[in-house]
C-alpha cells in the first residue's frame, strides 16, 4: 500500500481494534524465561548474562536501599532496547516514538525519585539545588535555575527518547523515498543515497541501543542523588 510519512507513527489498529497493547507487550515474547534447567539454552544463557551485567552496572553506584529499584530499571532497559530495535524493521510500529508513552514512563519514575529524596533526606535533596562553591550574590539566581532544571527533567527524558527515535525513523523514511524516486531517473545518485541509507541504518541501530541506556542511566543518576 502507499504509505505517507505519518503512517508509521500512527497507533496501529486492525479493523478498528487497537493493536497498541500487542505492540507494547510483543517484545516480552522474545525473552524466554529460564525455567528450571541448570544448563540453559544459548539464548537463555546470553540473556541471563546480559541482565546480570546491566543490573550490576546500574546498581553499583547505589547503596543497599537503591537496590529495590533493580527490577524496574533493568526491565525498563530491556523493554526500551527491544522496542527500539524492533522498530527498525520495515512496516513496524515503535511505541517509543509516541511522546505520550515516553512521558508516561519518565514522569512517574522521576517523580518517585524526587519524592523518595524529599521524604527520606529532605535537606540533602534540597541541597542539590545549590552547587558547592557558588559566590554569594549568585545564589538566588542559581536556586531558580537549578529548580527549573530539576522540574524539566521528566520532560527532557521523555522528549529526548521521542525526538531521537522519531527523527531517526523519519530520516530513514525520507532517504529511502529519495532513493526510490531517484531510481528511475538517476540510478547512480540513487545508489549513493542507498549507501547513505545503509550508514544511517547502522547509526539508527546504535542510537536505539544508546537511547535506551541513557534513559535508564539518567534515572539511576537521579536516584543516586536522592536515595
Amino acid at each position: 500500500m502507499n504509505l505517507t510519512f505519518f503512517d508509521q507513527f500512527s497507533s496501529p489498529s486492525l479493523l478498528g481494534i487497537p493493536l497498541i497493547l500487542i505492540a507494547m507487550t510483543f517484545p516480552a515474547l522474545l525473552i524466554p524465561s529460564p525455567g528450571n534447567r541448570w544448563i540453559t539454552s544459548r539464548l537463555t544463557t546470553l540473556q541471563l548474562w546480559f541482565f546480570n551485567l546491566v543490573t550490576k552496572q546500574l546498581m553499583m553506584p547505589l547503596d543497599k536501599k537503591g537496590h529495590k529499584w533493580a527490577l524496574i530499571l533493568t526491565s525498563l532497559m530491556v523493554f526500551l532496547l527491544l522496542t527500539n530495535l524492533l522498530g527498525l524493521l520495515p512496516y513496524t510500529f515503535t511505541p517509543t516514538t509516541q511522546l505520550s508513552m515516553n512521558l508516561a514512563l519518565a514522569f512517574p519514575l522521576w517523580l518517585a525519585t524526587v519524592l523518595t529524596g524529599l521524604r527520606n533526606q529532605p535537606s540533602t535533596s534540597l541541597g542539590h539545588l545549590l552547587p558547592e562553591g557558588t559566590p554569594t550574590p549568585l545564589i538566588p539566581a542559581l536556586i531558580l535555575i537549578e529548580t527549573t532544571s530539576l522540574l524539566i527533567r521528566p520532560l527532557a527524558l521523555g522528549v529526548r527518547l521521542t525526538a531521537n527515535l522519531t527523527a531517526g525513523h523519519l530520516l530513514i523514511q525520507l532517504i529511502s523515498t529519495a532513493t526510490t524516486a531517484l531510481f528511475s531517473t538517476m540510478p547512480a545518485i540513487s545508489l549513493l543515497t542507498l549507501l547513505i541509507l545503509l550508514l544511517l541504518t547502522i547509526l539508527e541501530v546504535a542510537v536505539a541501543m544508546i537511547q535506551a541506556y541513557v534513559f535508564v542511566l539518567l534515572l539511576s543518576l537521579y536516584l543516586q542523588e536522592n536515595i
Binding site: 500500500m1 502507499n2 504509505l3 528450571n36 534447567r37 541448570w38 544448563i39 540453559t40 539454552s41 544459548r42 539464548l43 544463557t45 546470553l46 548474562w49 527498525l88 524493521l89 520495515p90 512496516y91 530513514i172 523514511q173 529511502s176 523515498t177 532513493t179 526510490t180 542507498l194 541509507l197 545503509l198 544511517l200 541504518t201 547502522i202 541501530v205
Partner: protein, 228 residues
C-alpha cells in the same frame, strides 16, 4: 476425544526429572525456512521446487501489486543487510561465548566433584599406608625391647665394675696399711739396733778404735802417694 483411561495429573509435573534438551535446534535453510519444508516438497518437485515456489510467489505479489514497492522496501533492504551481516559476522562468536559460559558453569561443578573424588582416594591410600605401618609395629617393638635390654645390661655391668673398683680400693687400703706397718716396724727395729749398738760402744772401745784407725791411716798413707 478424551482418553479417560489415561490418568490426568497424578504427579506434580514440576518435580519430575526433565528430559534432556536436544543438542541442536531444528535444521534451517537460509536461516528462516525449516529443512522439513524442503523435504516435504522434494518427492513432488525435486530440489528446485521450494525455490520455484518462492520465486513464483514473490513475482505474483509484485506483479499483482499485492506487495507495493515503496520506500519501506528500500529501508527493509538496508536493515536486512545490516542484520544478516551482523549475524554472519558475529554469530559464531556469540554462540561460542554462550557455550563458554555454560561450559564454565559445568566445569566448576565437575571440578568440585573430581576434587572430592581425589580427596577421598588420597584418604583411602593414606589409610592403607597406616594399615601397612601397623603390620610393621611388631618389628618396631622387638627392636625397642632389644634396646632396652641392652641398656639394662650396660647399666648392670657398669655397676658391677663400680662394685669391683670399690672393693679393690678397700683391699688396697688394707694392703697399704700392712705394708706401712711392716715398713715402720723394720725402720724402728733398725733404728733400735743402731741406737743400741751406738750405746753399747763404751768410751774405751771408742778410743781404741780411733787409735786403730789412725794407725791404719798412717800405714795407708805410707803406701799411697797423692796424685797430682
Amino acid at each position: 476425544v478424551l482418553h479417560t483411561t489415561r490418568p490426568l495429573h497424578t504427579t506434580q509435573q514440576g518435580l519430575a526429572p526433565l528430559p534432556p534438551l536436544p543438542e541442536k535446534g531444528g535444521e534451517v535453510r537460509h536461516g528462516l525456512i525449516p529443512e522439513e519444508f524442503f523435504q516435504f516438497l522434494y518427492p513432488k518437485t525435486g530440489v528446485t521446487g521450494p525455490y520455484m515456489l518462492g520465486t513464483g510467489l514473490l513475482l505474483y505479489f509484485l506483479s499483482k501489486e499485492i506487495y507495493v514497492i515503496n520506500h519501506e522496501t528500500v529501508a527493509a533492504a538496508c536493515i536486512l543487510t545490516v542484520i544478516i551481516y551482523g549475524i554472519k559476522k558475529f554469530g559464531p562468536e556469540v554462540a561460542a561465548f554462550a557455550d563458554k559460559l555454560n561450559e564454565e558453569k559445568m566445569s566448576g561443578a565437575l571440578a568440585m566433584k573430581n576434587e572430592a573424588i581425589q580427596a577421598l582416594q588420597t584418604a583411602i591410600e593414606k589409610e592403607k599406608k597406616e594399615q601397612w605401618r601397623v603390620e610393621g609395629h611388631s618389628y618396631l617393638f622387638d627392636a625397642k625391647r632389644n634396646n632396652i635390654a641392652m641398656l639394662l645390661e650396660t647399666n648392670y655391668r657398669e655397676r658391677l665394675l663400680m662394685v669391683y673398683n670399690e672393693v679393690k680400693k678397700r683391699l688396697d687400703y688394707q694392703v697399704a696399711m700392712q705394708n706401712l706397718r711392716r715398713q715402720k716396724e723394720q725402720d724402728h727395729m733398725i733404728q733400735w739396733v743402731e741406737k743400741n749398738v751406738v750405746q753399747s760402744i763404751t768410751p774405751q772401745q771408742q778410743q781404741d778404735s780411733i787409735a786403730k784407725c789412725i794407725l791404719d791411716l798412717k800405714a795407708l798413707s805410707k803406701s799411697a802417694q797423692a796424685a797430682v
